[in-house]
Each structure stands twice: as structure tokens, then as C-alpha cells.
Amino acid sequence: ARLTRLALTGFKSFAEPVTVEILAGLTGIVGPNGCGKSNVVEALRWVMGENSARSMRGGEMDDVIFAGTAHRASRNIAEVTLSLEEAHGSAVGLPAQGELEISRRIERGSGSNYRVNGREVRARDVQTLFADLASGARSSGMISQGRVAALVNARPEERRQILEEAA
């Protein structure tokens, strides 16, 4: 399976729709402090099924919805869509096929829901789909800012997860 595109709108500081093409090899993301780089990383973890508001650096999950600026009103909806190619959709009850579009949408005050190719699915199905790809919001290859040494500082029983990913 290949992840090919991440589209976000209304997510944190991304008030306007933005698309990140995920291409082969090494893609650098640069910019001044506070411009939104880590917000992109969080958008990816969020659509993969991250359920802790705290790990999104917020107090509650609604904090991922664009909160407005000095000149712009806040929004009520945030949506992130992740495109996959050659993915197996079996975890979400779809036949093994080429393209999958996984999206998550949250509305202020009423929680979030997931869709795969337009059909509503459960959070657990999306999480399973990524776990089958040795990936996911909390996989060892998704390193949030300041957390690179977390693996080294964890307790031995917490590190076990990394063996299961490799399996």
C-alpha cells in the first residue's frame, strides 16, 4: 500500500483547504516557528485514528477545529482525508482494491466520524486498517516533536509494542 495524498480543511491553523502530495523518498517540511508544520503531522495522526485530545496538544478534541484569528471567524468543522493506493480494504469490509480514501470529520460539539470511500465506518476499523499496514497514529515511525528519545526512556514493557509492529 502507498499513502499518496493528505488533504486538510479547517484543521487547526489550516483554515483554507490544503493538499499535501506524499511522494516517494524524502519530503522535507520547513517553515518558521509556529507556522503549522507540526499541525500537518497531527492531521495525519488524527485521520489514522488518534483518539487522545492531549496527544493533539489540546484540552478536548474540538481544539483541532480552526479557532479563528484576529481577523477571521472560527469554524465549526474540520476534515482530513488521506488517500491510499493498492491498499487492502478488507479491514473495513471493502474488497481488496486500488484506491482508498479515508476521511475523518469533526463538528464542534458533536464528535467525529470516519468514512472510507464515502461509506461511514467505525474508528476501530480505520485503526485496524493501519495496524495491518504496520502503521497508525502511535506507530514507532510517527515521531511527534520532542518525542524522538521517548522509546529509549520508556519502560521495557512499553517497548514491546515495537516487536508487534515488526511482526
Binding site: S13, F14, A24, G25, T27, I29, V41, S135, R160, A167
Partner: protein, 161 residues
């Protein structure tokens, strides 16, 4: 089952040993299962010995040494079962230039060996220069993030303000 996990442990350990020695330009490291004889219950312990030093408890390693040890382990897992994507948010922040160079070289090797696509957030000009492409995140309108493709010159300019 147990056989599978024991085999995976041995493979991750083998890769970890090689990658650690490359990341540090020497030294030795290995993994061990601890706390239980049953591989399904045991914890994973990391032993790391930078070149010329005694085997130290992990917490005594420096900030940069801990980052390199962790990255060696993560890449060892990728060699066994590559994820389609990896995101590294400023993992080069604690590294000196010599280690940034070694880290980038290892990243390039990973890309050749696996299909993993990497998103690397960085402020480091050296790391930027080793990327296949660069996306700049800007806030031309204060508080509103946008994304645009940039070349190296423009990228360095963005962080030098």
C-alpha cells in the same frame, strides 16, 4: 505465536546492532527480552555502548546519543516490516552536524531498501539539502497556514527570517 515473535525479535536485534554501529560510527548495542521467559509477556530492554565508552544505563546517554539510539531501533523495525509512511518531527534538533550527516545517509539507505515515504520536519539546513523535495508552510496571513513547494534557497530563507 511464540515462534513468530522470537524470530522477529532476533531479526530486529540483528538489524539494530548493525544500524547502531553505523549511526555512531562504531560501538555496540543489542536488545534483550526481560521480565519473563515467555516472549509474549516479556519487555524489551535496550543495551547501548557508544564507541570507547562503557556500557551505560540508557538514561546516562546524552540527548544526541539517545536520539540516535532510538532512530536506530525504529529503522531496525522498518527493515523487518516497513511501514508505508514515517513522519519525523525535528528529530535532528539534538544532533550535531556530523550526526545529522550520518542520520541523513541512513535515511537515504532506508528509502533505497524499503518503499517507506518519509515526511521530515526540520530547521536544519543540512537536512534540508538532503531531501528529495521541500514543502514550505507559511503564514503570510497571520494565523492561517498554507503550503507551497519551495527550493533549497527559498527554504533556508524561510527559517532565517
Amino acid at each position: 505465536g511464540r515462534e513468530r515473535l522470537s524470530a522477529v525479535f532476533a531479526e530486529v536485534d540483528r538489524h539494530f546492532q548493525t544500524l547502531f554501529a553505523r549511526m555512531f560510527g562504531g560501538g555496540r548495542a543489542h536488545l534483550a527480552l526481560t521480565g519473563s521467559d515467555d516472549v509474549l509477556q516479556a519487555g524489551l530492554e535496550i543495551y547501548a555502548q557508544p564507541p570507547g565508552k562503557k556500557l551505560a544505563t540508557l538514561s546516562l546517554l546524552s540527548g544526541g546519543e539517545q536520539a540516535l539510539t532510538a532512530l536506530s531501533l525504529i529503522f531496525a523495525v522498518f527493515r523487518c516490516n516497513p511501514a508505508p509512511i514515517s513522519v519525523l518531527d525535528e528529530v535532528d534538533a539534538p544532533l550535531d552536524d556530523a550526526n545529522v550527516d550520518r542520520f541523513c545517509t541512513l535515511l537515504e539507505d532506508m528509502v533505497r531498501e524499503t518503499e517507506t515515504r518519509f515526511l521530515v520536519v526540520t530547521h536544519h539546513p543540512l537536512t534540508m539539502s538532503r531531501m528529495d523535495r521541500l514543502y514550505g508552510v507559511t503564514m503570510q496571513e497571520r494565523g492561517i497556514s498554507r503550503l507551497l513547494s519551495v527550493d533549497l534557497g527559498k527554504a533556508v530563507e524561510m527559517v532565517t527570517g
